[in-house]
Symmetry: C2
Subunit: 256 residues, 2 copies
């Protein structure tokens, strides 16, 4: 990848910026903003962004939640490098003071995970936007099915198991995924996280959901609940007021 | 229960009637109507109403779907008697011609189930509104929790296993339940039913869902999807147009 193949993009109306790969590679967007919005605005503590990429979701939390310090955890060296370059931007000085990059594989287990910097009960919240969410968009329907079957189960189970290890009791977890992954996510949370709250994200009123955000509490035994959905667009093609507020870091997804 | 302790109630604006227990015992309402609405209006074939009570959901299907013949399956003799008395009402002649009562326990398995009249692959659709849905309403929060844990898992697993046995391949299943039962339902469907479609039912826009309807297809391997929610009430306390249409048998829940 040539050195100049990147862009610097403003998020939250200029409250933070990302250095991202250009035409090739995954570029952050709505998914990261909706995931970040699952964290309560009053959240204070240490948050891990699993599979952070260039840092979109984690930095969106840091920008909205002034008491949050975030660790952007990314396995791919080239994406971790983009995240580091983002933190080094002068215009990110505010959020960068409460952010760091950890180049590590969140799929590690046991001592290897701890040695990689992911200590037990060392975080107050974990957010995750698993990478295949993006991969699927470019896959053929057949590939999509195969990946959904093979990757979903393994990836979510592994990542959620890791989240359970690194989050303190009563700490939080938020996951964004396709609705087709809902059962896999709930099964992986079973016995580890409880009090799951689900927000379905629909492109328009009357249309099937394209994403689901599941938030849960470590070691809780509370029942699952289904929250009001998020409708992205009004009757026209404009963003709904709520989606716009979420995109710009002015609202949380669960209203807290 | 004294002989006179019953009421005759009109449903679907008088398109069918139920004989129901009076003050004591479970009386049918919105849950049964929303469950019935999960069946496509063009459905034609044999439908089983598991745990039919006085027959509300099954008769609602018979009233809206002219090609449906329904079997009201109820274990409790006193409730099965109410269902039979309902079918005998002169004003039910239209729907009663396509309805019958089977006094049987849908929790039976193997030969005992078949002997009770629930033959393998003998239905095109099963609907179920498990009885504890009502019991919960009168339970204390602690009882509620205990029941949710004990009854949910066992009851749903047993009933959905029975449904898988009696429904033909590509036949349908619809379940209404509390959102807290969602994972249990999806787990019980796994490997038996696919292409699950979820409708969350919210009292008002902006409020947490009180019910969830899950519809699925026997032996399908299609992915789960989340459909637009049903909002019961408008800003005032009036039913929304959609809820009113469903309550009165003029619309289906999934728009088909």
């Amino acid at each position: 990848m040539p050195v100049q193949d990147f862009t610097i993009d403003a998020f939250h109306r200029g409250r933070f910026f990302l250095v991202q790969p250009g035409a090739r590679g995954h570029r952050a967007g709505m998914d990261a903003m909706m995931l970040a919005a699952a964290v309560p605005s009053a959240f204070a503590g240490r948050l891990a962004d699993f599979g952070a990429g260039a840092g979109a979701a984690g930095l969106a939390v840091a920008a909205r939640c002034e008491g949050a310090s975030v660790v952007l955890i990314e396995r791919a060296p080239e994406m971790a490098a983009f995240a580091r370059r983002g933190l080094a931007l002068p215009q990110n000085a505010g959020v960068a003071a409460r952010a760091s990059v950890l180049e590590a594989d969140v799929g590690l287990t046991g001592k290897a995970r701890v040695a990689a910097g992911l200590g037990d009960a060392s975080f107050d919240f974990v957010i995750m936007n698993p990478p295949f969410n993006a991969g699927h968009d470019r896959a053929t329907p057949d590939e999509l099915k195969r990946q959904a079957h093979v990757m979903d189960v393994g990836l979510f189970a592994t990542w959620i198991r890791s989240a359970a290890a690194v989050v303190r009791p009563r700490g939080g977890l938020a996951v964004i995924a396709r609705p087709s992954s809902l059962r896999t996510i709930l099964d992986a949370m079973d016995g580890r996280f409880g009090g799951a709250e689900i927000v379905a994200i629909h492109p328009r009123a009357g249309e099937t959901a394209i994403r689901v955000v599941v938030r849960a509490v470590r070691a809780s035994r509370a029942a699952l609940s289904i929250c009001p959905p998020l409708i992205l667009h009004d009757a026209g093609d404009r963003f709904s007021a709520k989606a716009d507020a979420i995109n710009n870091g002015n609202a949380s997804l669960f209203g807290d």
